[in-house]
Amino acid sequence: MQLKHVLTICPYCGCGCGIYLEVLDGEIIRTIPSKTSPVNQGRLCIKGWSAHEFVVSPKRLKRPYLRKQEKLHEASWDEVLDFTASRLREIREKHGPDSIAFLASAKCTNEENYLLQKLARAAIGTNNIDHCARL
């Protein structure tokens, strides 16, 4: 029997609400807002309250896939990265850098988002970078 309340930060928007993930024998079963967090003081929005749900969602992608003829096929990281890089290069050469846009995520770390904008601006050459939290 192991019940843990793991203190963490809500993975959705940039507010950074403090939450406890209730983990019963390794399975996340509930999100509880932290009352000690100065950000949310025991309160959450509906996304925060369900922050644990996507972890166990059957729709979640856990490995790389390539879409071929409308269907997702499992593929290796090398394969998907090579494909993505070559297609991005092709599109940029044919239509120019501003034909490409990047969508970052509040679910990622600051560092990951920094790297994505770096890729957009320095490697591709576009300022078309936005994020999912622009609601």
């Binding site: 029997m1 019940l3 209730e22 024998d25 509880i32 807002p33 932290s34 000690t36 309160r43 309250w49």
Partner: protein, 267 residues
């Protein structure tokens, strides 16, 4: 007070009366729920007081339901204030928890908290430490009643219109245990609309609190937009009391009027 409770919990472990104790723990300045399975872990044990008394309460009885469902044979100790005990009494009656497998370790709230909560019974029967504190009669319900019909309608319509439908009031509620929640029924409360239909959403919840709400106030503390839910449910409790002579959670042996099927109808 805390030390006495810790000693009591240690005794329960030593006498093998419990296999685990559900309480609160302070770690790195943060107070949260904690399941103690070893008396050695009791360092950092917390009563949920940080800035002021009882400001870090959590729905421990609700957490216990999930635990007891998976481990129905185990016996659990649980830290209780007056409100937690009332919640557990109600959960026993509704067969959500087995009373024989739950050992309550109770402590009273200080007068200051009792007054802030307007709590009629700020102590549990299962006191292991401290004195019974004087109950407080609510004044908030009366203030709203004195606004008159029009004033009340305006007051509640404005408060309900702030709702962002986070479901926090339901999620944190120790006596919300239905498998299917009417508030999540897409035909009654369409998803994707904020605020939810005013006043249906909040009146549906208020009606469902009849005979259930044990007046702990966790809903109001969880509400991000400051809807005075506790006052609303206090009024619901008053109505149930005057109609059925029943206050949820207070009398352990009194059956809930919402839990009685009644006489078998004649054929």
């Amino acid at each position: 007070m805390k030390e006495t409770i810790i000693e009591k919990v240690k005794d329960l472990f030593e006498d093998s009366r419990i296999e685990a104790f559900l309480g609160l723990k302070e770690e790195n300045g943060q107070i949260g729920p904690y399941l103690f399975t070893d008396p050695k872990d009791l360092e950092g044990f917390s009563l949920g007081d940080k800035e002021w008394p009882g400001d870090k309460r959590y729905p421990l009885s609700k957490i216990l339901i999930a635990l007891a469902q998976k481990y129905p044979e185990n016996r659990f100790g649980i830290l209780v204030r007056g409100c937690d005990e009332r919640a557990l009494n109600e959960l026993f009656k509704w067969n959500q928890l087995n009373e024989e497998h739950v050992v309550m370790v109770g402590f009273p709230c200080p007068q200051e908290l009792a007054e802030a909560c307007e709590c009629p019974k700020p102590y549990p029967e299962s006191l292991v430490v401290g004195e019974k504190v004087k109950g407080i009669k609510s004044k908030k319900v009366e203030v709203i009643l004195n606004m008159g019909m029009e004033g009340r309608l305006k007051y509640w319509t404005e408060r309900f219109s702030r709702c962002i439908k986070c479901y926090g009031c339901r999620n944190v509620c120790p006596v919300c245990f239905c498998n299917e929640c009417e508030l999540a029924n897409d035909d009654l409360i369409p998803s994707g609309e904020i605020p939810p239909e005013n006043p249906i959403f909040h009146l549906v919840r208020a009606a469902h609190m009849a005979g259930r709400c044990i007046d702990c106030g966790l809903c109001e503390e969880a509400c991000p937009v400051g809807i005075p839910l506790r006052t609303l449910y206090k009024k619901v409790a008053d109505i149930v009391d005057s109609e059925f002579g029943y206050r949820p959670g207070y009398q352990k042996d009194q059956k809930s009027p919402f839990n009685i099927l009644g006489e078998r109808p004649e054929d």
